[in-house]
């Protein structure tokens, strides 16, 4: 009590202690999450290896798949993985629980917030570690390009980026459309299963499919625009102008999905009174 200490000195000391404690806590948490991170990384690597082996199996019996060579299809596979990374990281966590929320009535809580419901439901949860899938996918595409011996021009690269962004929007629009279904068919528990089942078709170039399926995947469930188009832009299979078309498709898809969502929401809030 008789000691006189400079107050600032004391504050500095405790500040260091606090910071150190925070860092230690952070690192301990990091370690815990790192185990999950390694697990998901290993998991994704495993499934990519499986996909590559499947491709190799197909190409054991043919030189071209829908006119695409092996490494071209691998570029497409990389794009597919990058997009699924976005889906797993951003969309699935938030949207995945929508169906149960509709059933239990908890959605009313969500709707009462002063933010756009669609945006909130879509982006509310982020599974950060899954973004590594995006990196893996793009890395794979890059590697495949190298094996093709092709270096994309700046214009092609730009077209690719635009097409990829548009692809992400189209995927998002498809998810929003599915979300809207949750309002009509309240018993639909596993919306994501519906998406996954159909999206498997995006693993391969759309030209590999027979006519009827091709029509389906280009005009009705436009998953062709999500992988085939960006990959084509990158490998130069399609002219860079395709990027503009991709943007147009994305805009249309988003608009349609938004309309569907608004209708569904209107009906839902009307019914629940």
């Amino acid at each position: 009590m008789t000691e006189v200490r400079l107050p600032t000195f004391r504050v500095q000391r405790s500040a260091f202690r606090i910071l150190a404690a925070l860092w230690r806590l952070n690192f301990a948490e990091e370690l815990q999450y790192r185990a999950n991170f390694v697990a998901s990384l290993v998991g994704t690597a495993f499934w990519i290896a499986t996909a590559l082996l499947t491709l190799a199996l197909f190409f054991r019996h043919t030189t071209l798949l829908g006119g695409w060579s092996y490494w071209e299809v691998v570029v497409l596979l990389g794009v597919f993985n990058a997009l699924t990374g976005v889906i797993e990281a951003v969309l699935r966590p938030g949207i995945g629980q929508l169906a149960s929320e509709v059933r239990s009535g908890r959605l009313d809580l969500v709707l009462s917030r002063p933010v756009d419901a669609q945006a909130f439901v879509s982006f509310r949860k982020l599974d950060v570690w899954r973004l590594t899938d995006v990196a893996l996918g793009l890395g794979l595409a890059g590697y495949a390009l190298a094996r093709l011996g092709q270096m994309p021009s700046a214009l092609q690269l730009a077209a690719f980026v635009v097409a990829l962004a548009s692809a992400a929007v189209v995927v998002y629009a498809i998810w929003v459309a599915l979300m809207s279904l949750a309002f009509w068919f309240v018993a639909v528990e596993n919306l994501s299963v519906l998406f996954d089942a159909v999206y498997e078709g995006a693993r391969y170039p759309v030209s590999a499919y027979p006519g009827a399926l091709r029509f389906l995947f280009v005009y009705l469930l436009p998953i062709a625009w999500t992988t085939t188009i960006p990959a084509s832009a990158l490998t130069g299979r399609l002219r860079p102008e395709i990027g503009l078309v991709a943007v147009a498709v994305a805009v249309v898809a988003f608009a349609l999905a938004r309309v569907l969502w608004s209708q569904a929401l209107k009906r839902y809030t009307g019914v629940s009174g």
Binding site: R24, F27, A28, L31, Q32
Partner: protein, 341 residues
């Protein structure tokens, strides 16, 4: 402090017998911080958690007994050892003549287990479907099934809810259906883990009355764990108090109160002009909200002090009470812990 107020006659063989029952878990030790996380991976170290220590008791057929204790005291662990879900680390246990852990089907047909937080009813189907399933599993003859179902439905008031999917029922209705499902095969012993957890007062009351009635009719032995005092006061004459794995008390609730509660409470309705200080001369003033007051005095002096208060102060009403049960129990825990250290 460990005491037994024996109430069972030595002539009746116990239906549940536990002798120095112990259960120790080996838990991985994880030091906080980064270095600790790494060492936990590389060189794991363990520490022993003594969940149950040297617990001994005997329960006669037809008794209703409550295991009382705070969370983590070892009640559920003991219950799991009695039902064969866990095997003891030490001591022995015998239930209806079986060692629960090795009892197999014959043992399981004689008991029923109802867990408060996990249900066995099929969630999406009416409770009746689960009843039918249990009928098949326990090989209940048709006539017996119909008769028992009718009785349980009547006692529990389930006529309206039998054909509604379980997920549409209230918590109380669900618990009643759980009980019905558990009793269709007329088990000799019913084990209940926190049966009134989360229920509203009416439902709790209904279930307690049902259990008492059922025991009276069929002589089933009922063993429940709880941290609700009302479960005990309404149902069980006999309590086993467990804390930190040790059995602190085994006997009648009334005797426990008498033994532990060293004080009595004098509840007063006072006349005008009495201050807390004035009252404080006679004992500890527990609460003073004019005109009501509660005075706490040592048990032996309760009568004498009451007389003095009546003589000295204007009193409209006076009554002598035991302290609330919760406090008695809390004191038992505290003394038990003290005895350990």
């Amino acid at each position: 402090m460990r005491c037994v107020d024996a109430i069972d006659s030595p002539l009746v063989a116990p239906v549940i017998l536990a002798e120095k029952l112990s259960k120790t878990f080996r838990v991985k030790v994880r030091e906080p911080g980064l270095a600790g996380a790494v060492s936990a991976l590389v060189r794991p170290r363990y520490r022993d958690v003594h969940a149950v220590r040297d617990v001994s008791f005997a329960i006669a057929p037809g008794e209703i007994v409550a295991f009382l204790g705070p969370n983590g005291a070892g009640k559920t662990t003991t219950l799991k050892m009695l039902t064969g879900l866990l095997y003891p680390s030490g001591g022995r246990v015998e239930v209806t003549g079986f060692t629960p852990w090795t009892g197999g089907s014959p043992f399981k047909r004689r008991i029923a287990l109802v867990l408060g937080n996990r249900q066995q009813l099929a969630w999406d189907l009416p409770a009746e479907e689960t009843f039918q399933l249990n009928r098949a599993i326990y090989d209940i003859p048709d006539a017996a099934y119909r008769e028992r179902l009718a009785e349980l439905v009547a006692l529990l008031g389930l006529a309206e809810v039998l054909d509604k999917p379980v997920r549409q029922l209230s918590l109380g209705e669900r618990m009643k259906c759980e009980l019905a499902a558990a009793l269709l095969h007329r088990p000799a012993i019913l084990f209940l883990d926190e049966p009134t957890l989360g229920l509203d007062v009416t439902a709790q009351d209904a279930i307690r009355r049902f259990l008492a009635e059922y025991r009276d009719r069929h002589g089933a032995t009922i063993l429940l764990t709880s941290h609700y005092m009302q479960d005990v006061t309404a149902l069980a004459l006999r309590v086993l108090i467990i804390n930190r794995g040790r059995l602190l008390y085994d006997g009648l609730l009334g005797a426990l109160v008498a033994r532990i509660a060293r004080v009595k409470r004098i509840e007063l309705v006072l006349g005008v002009g009495v201050t807390a200080e004035a009252l404080g001369r006679f004992g500890t003033v527990r609460s003073f909200r004019s005109p009501n007051a509660v005075l706490e005095v040592p048990r032996e002096e309760a009568a004498a002090t009451s007389a003095r208060v009546l003589a000295a102060l204007p009193v409209a009403d006076l009554s002598i009470q035991d302290p609330p049960i919760e406090e008695v129990i809390r004191q038992a825990f505290a003394e038990g812990s003290e005895a350990e250290t």
